[in-house]
Amino acid sequence: MAALLTSAAVSCVRPTAHTALEQVQRSGVLRWGADLQGGEPYVFEDPQQAGRLVGFEVEIADALARELGVRAEMVQNDWTTLVPSLERSSFDIVLNGLEATAARGERIALSRPYYLFAERLSARAGDARVKDLASLRGLRVGSLPNSLAWDMLATAGAEQVPYEGVEEPYEDLVQGRIDAVLLDDIIAERYGNKPGLHVVADVGQGSYVVGIRRGEAELVRALDGAFDRLERSGELRSILERWQLYNERQSGLASVARPPSAATELHTAPPHATFALTPHQLGLFLRGALVTLAISSASMLLAVLIGLLLALARQPSPHLLQRWLARFATLYVEVFRGTPVLLQLYVLYYGLASVVSLDAFTAATLGLGLNYAAYEAEIYRAGIQAVPHGEIEAARALGMSGVLTLRRVILPHAVRFSLPGMANDFISLLKDSSLVSVITVIELTKRMTIAAVDGRSWFIPGVLCASLYLAMSYPLSRLARHFEARLGGAK
């Protein structure tokens, strides 16, 4: 079965009328894919002028386009999925700190290097455990998924902690949420310069190259030629100097051997998928599913408890204190329902880091729980409103206190009315829990993305990921229908 899946390749050969170079020349635009979240100095928004892009890669892109006789246009794309997006022609080239690796060279064509960097290991000053790459085994180390550093961490046996930006890993290192950070020296110099941190060592080096779709040898040659001219004229060096990036290491640029690249092979068939459904891979996926289930369950529990308190606080009452509580509860529901849960997660994990430093799992549970509490509160409020008024009067006529009436009459009814909505919310929560990957939790969807980009195939990881979600949500969906049926029968 595994062998069958492994050999299954999703390939569709698309006859292209024009080569990429002809396309660029015809349209007069060189579209280059990059991620603004990579930040200074790569490509980022000018703080002085919102909307204007600056960065050394912006200048390189402009210079390359000028050499090709066209203009450059940046296309925003998540850094981790730059290569798949290149392959589906979202842009012509990738120009965004793309490291030359053998695996990448097999998959896409690579230009000659335009920058040489070191992989720099940072840790908290005084943490003697972090000495070199080998010392990272078992430690939590932050990096960017699908980067050269990420692969080095896997080989070293470190626990990889994924980040989407470059500022956050160093902040988390200061907070003690992770033990070390391994990133390119450009990033380390700009973002890792925080009190309490120190550079442990440079543990490897690599080069930035431009990524081009497989088989587009003409475009590779054109870009290589452009780079050669930019280097001879000294323009490349002056761009790097302008951004304080030029160092000793760069003098070796011309002599660095080009990485083995698919550029030399002229066949145009897309490469075969190499995602292999090994027991190890399957284990990683199951672990991701477990994380998803654990976070969802813990969040739901929290949401139910807080939601219940909110719903009770919103019950009409003549007491002044309770009226203020009701106002607070209404405000809570409006704020948490009216702003994106993604924003709430960012604020909770990064924004409040200096006040309360929560670990990622706690922050994820708290963030989703606080958000879903607003929805649960509304479900319970509707449930409480649906309680037959006559039965509440009957309870009072029997001499029940308010609390006893709540416990014996209102809540049993309200819970019954609320169960279908709660089950539906839990299903939504299972899927929304994929958002917590932005605060470094590797749950099911993140595992799928990493595996898919690594293995150059979205099909099998996608199907596997979807199956696992379905396996979790289908029983819930059955449960919701069961509750609904019971509610219908009770009327």
Binding site: A394, A395, A397, L398, L404
Partner: protein, 227 residues
């Protein structure tokens, strides 16, 4: 057994006076029927007697317990709960707890309000269901009962609290002649046990069959009815 008295009871909704200066006394084992035109406020009067509705003036006295109209909200609630412990109420719509069995409806008061252990209450609850003639429906849910059975369950639920006074709101409104006679019999038996009955009704024959003093609420006053 002490029955129920009202002293100058009065109630208005906004500008409209429902009743005023109502002083009645219903002794233990006595029956009192209140008649009158629809919408005159008979049910409101009945609800004021156990504090489900708050009177604007006057006092309700049940033995040593009393509800004064001019108490603070918290004190009113506390007083009403004491009175409700001695006064049972049978709603026109019954209002049985729909999520509990008939037996559990009857047990709800003794077990959860009086906090008597359930095992000690079950025997008496079944005896009450036997007395109202629906012991065979003890495990049924309220919605599985006929209208007459639901009413009997509601009466059993009220009797489980050993009330000195039983308030009934239009108890015959959905019963045919035979069932009305059965209900009347049951209530006459309760009178013999010393329970004071106060019923709102539009059926003079039912009122007479109870042997009740018959009054009517007419133009804001409770006065003897001429039948």
């Amino acid at each position: 057994m002490s029955g129920l008295q009202t002293l100058s009871l009065g109630k208005s909704f906004a500008e409209r006076v429902i009743f005023e200066e109502v002083s009645i006394a219903v002794a233990a084992g006595e029956a009192f029927a209140l008649m009158g035109p629809s919408g005159a406020g008979k049910s409101t009067f009945l609800r004021c007697l156990n504090g489900l509705e708050r009177a604007d003036h006057g006092t309700v006295v049940v033995g040593g317990a009393r509800i004064e109209a001019d108490l603070s909200p918290a004190a009113f609630a506390a007083a009403a709960r004491i009175v409700r412990g001695r006064v049972g109420f049978v709603f026109q719509g019954h209002h049985l707890f729909s999520h509990r069995s008939v037996l559990d409806n009857v047990l709800e008061g003794p077990v959860h309000v009086r906090r008597v252990p359930r095992e000690q209450c079950v025997g008496r609850a079944l005896a009450l269901l036997e007395k109202v003639g629906i012991a065979h429906r003890a495990d049924a849910l309220p919605r599985q009962l006929s209208h007459g059975e639901q009413q009997r369950a509601a009466i059993a639920r009220a009797l489980a609290m050993d009330p000195e006074v039983l308030l009934l709101d239009e108890p015959t409104s959905a019963l045919d002649a035979d069932r009305t006679e059965l209900l009347s019999q049951l209530l006459r038996d309760l009178r013999k046990d010393g329970v004071a009955l106060i019923t709102v009704t539009h059926d003079p024959r039912f009122a007479l069959s109870l042997g009740a003093r018959v009054y009517q609420l007419i133009e804001r006053h409770v006065v003897p009815a001429e039948l």
